[in-house]
Amino acid sequence: MKSFEEISKLLINQFPSINFEIKSDVKFEPYIIVPPNQIDNVCLFLRDNIDLQFDSLVNLSAVDDFNGEKTKDEQGNDIMKGGTLSLYYHLESIKYRHKILLRVLTDRDNPSVLSVTSVWNSANWHEREAFDLFGINFINHPDLRRILMPYDWEFGHPLRKDYQNPEFYQGMKVPY
């Protein structure tokens, strides 16, 4: 059963080249910010290290931080430029019962993160959902296609804060 500090210390001296940002003063759950192109090596290490053994990815949630600068497009509804999308990885070790929260930041315009499906298979559908609802492109994901929305939904990604509902989808009026 390792505490948050021990785990972050272990991570830092395992990956000296990566600059992690340790956030422990945040309300309710401290987390570590990991750069998007290193996430799969970090997760592989977290899973395979003997005294960490994070063998189950509990939850992977994508969040639209909506912190770019707002601009108006022609119809007057606001469009976000810049800003970040963040991915929260909740990991847990069944053996040692300790938990950790990782956060990955990608920019909003063309978000792309390395997929961790090779580390935990449960990430497969979580990542497909993040792609479907947020547009985050996961590199070397087995089959990245929409999961909840119809496969041919080309009006953007619904869970983004500046998402506009289309008027018609294949002849059906969308806002009922």
Partner: protein, 371 residues
């Protein structure tokens, strides 16, 4: 000379009598043997997470009911515990007890549906009606307490919408007294029936490592032999006050982690839930349940991941609040959504009739898968 069988793609669903809702399974068959199963979901997607961004905290509770509509109480409990942690408020003792009783009654009702529809999938239609006859009694208990039978909006942030009905305790005791013999009878009729065992033992075996790697939780993980239950391991609410044990799969009728084990873990879990309810009814204190409900709910900026042992697995709410009365983001970790991924691994090499048996033992609810 191997017989060249040409692959046949069979679409099962989305309106198929036994896919437990709107789920389309694309089966690639060779003769009768399955080589690949691709589940297509999203037919029941009602964008719960988009709703949460425009609703105030109390208004979200009726929406959480509609995710796993067979275990509405447990959904509400998960969300409410998360928000109470955000607000850092402590709920009176009586409310905790009532919440545990309601969650356990809901677990029995949900398992009765799972077992009943599983029997009906295998072909035995009578146990399905016996299970629903017992479930009606639980729904009546819910109805006299909060007025609704399926979607309750009963557990509020900081308390409950109504106190217990005066003769709730008497009716619950009556239900438990009638339910025990019914459960034994169900075992005689279905659980130990040789045909049922032939149809479910050694079918859809889920090894423990694959289960953990696929993030499977709940009765499916316990059937694969791991004693992992959030009520004990990550104990929320007052579950540490009751003694009950966690049933796991022992491979009595086949190997550990087969469909029969998943079914039997649910049957034994119902017995455990009865034990919890009996203890909770004895020790329930008095007190006011609606006093602690805050008038205006504006949690502090921060994020919390609260999780609850739903009848289908670990239901988690990742709530991010930005200080306003509506949450900034609520992400739901739905157990059926995660458990459904394993279907492809379970069904390889089995026959079409087994897919129905395996899907029934996985016990998914599409409202929760599609959110």
């Amino acid at each position: 000379m191997s017989v060249r069988t040409e692959e046949m793609v069979l679409n099962m669903g989305p309106q198929h009598p036994s896919t437990h809702g709107v789920l389309r399974l694309e089966l690639t068959l060779e003769g009768e043997i399955i080589t690949k199963v691709v589940p297509h979901i999203g037919y029941l997607h009602r964008c719960f997470e988009k709703h949460c961004e425009v609703m105030t905290y109390p208004q979200i509770i009726p929406y959480t009911d509609r995710m796993d509509y067979l275990a509405a109480m447990c959904n509400e409990l998960g969300f409410v515990i998360g928000v109470e942690k955000l607000l850092a408020i402590q709920v009176p003792e009586r409310v905790e007890y009532i919440r545990v009783i309601m969650a356990e009654l809901q677990r029995i009702a949900s398992h009765l549906v799972a077992i009943g529809t599983y029997g009906a999938d295998i072909g035995a239609f009578t146990p399905f009606l016996y299970c629903f006859r017992d479930r009606e009694k639980i729904l009546n208990l819910f109805e006299i307490t909060c007025g609704a039978r399926l979607l309750y909006n009963y557990i509020w942030i900081g308390g409950l919408s109504h106190d217990l009905h005066p003769d709730f305790i008497r009716l619950t005791k009556e239900f438990i007294r009638e339910f025990k013999p019914n459960l034994r009878e169900l075992n005689n009729l279905l659980t130990y029936n040789k045909i049922f065992i032939d149809r479910t033992a050694n079918i859809g075996i889920l090894p423990l490592e694959t289960a953990i790697n696929y993030g499977v939780t709940g009765p499916m993980l316990r059937a694969s032999g791991l004693r992992w239950d959030l009520r004990k391991d990550d104990s929320y609410s007052i579950y540490n006050k009751f003694d009950f044990e966690i049933p796991i799969g022992e491979g009595k009728m086949g190997t550990i982690g087969d469909s029969w084990d998943r079914y039997f873990v649910r049957v034994r879990e119902m017995e455990e839930s009865i034990k919890i309810i009996e203890q909770a009814i004895e020790q329930i204190p008095d007190g006011d349940v609606t006093a602690g409900i805050p008038k205006r709910i504006k949690p502090v900026v921060g994020h919390i991941y609260s999780r609850v042992e739903n009848p289908r697995g670990e239901l988690g709410y990742f709530i991010i609040s930005d200080g306003s009365a509506t949450p900034f983001r609520v992400k739901v970790r739905a157990p059926s959504f995660v458990n459904l991924q394993v279907l492809d691994v379970l069904c390889r090499g089995h026959m079409v009739a087994d897919v129905i048996a395996i899907l029934g033992s996985v016990d998914i609810v599409l409202g929760e898968v599609d959110r």
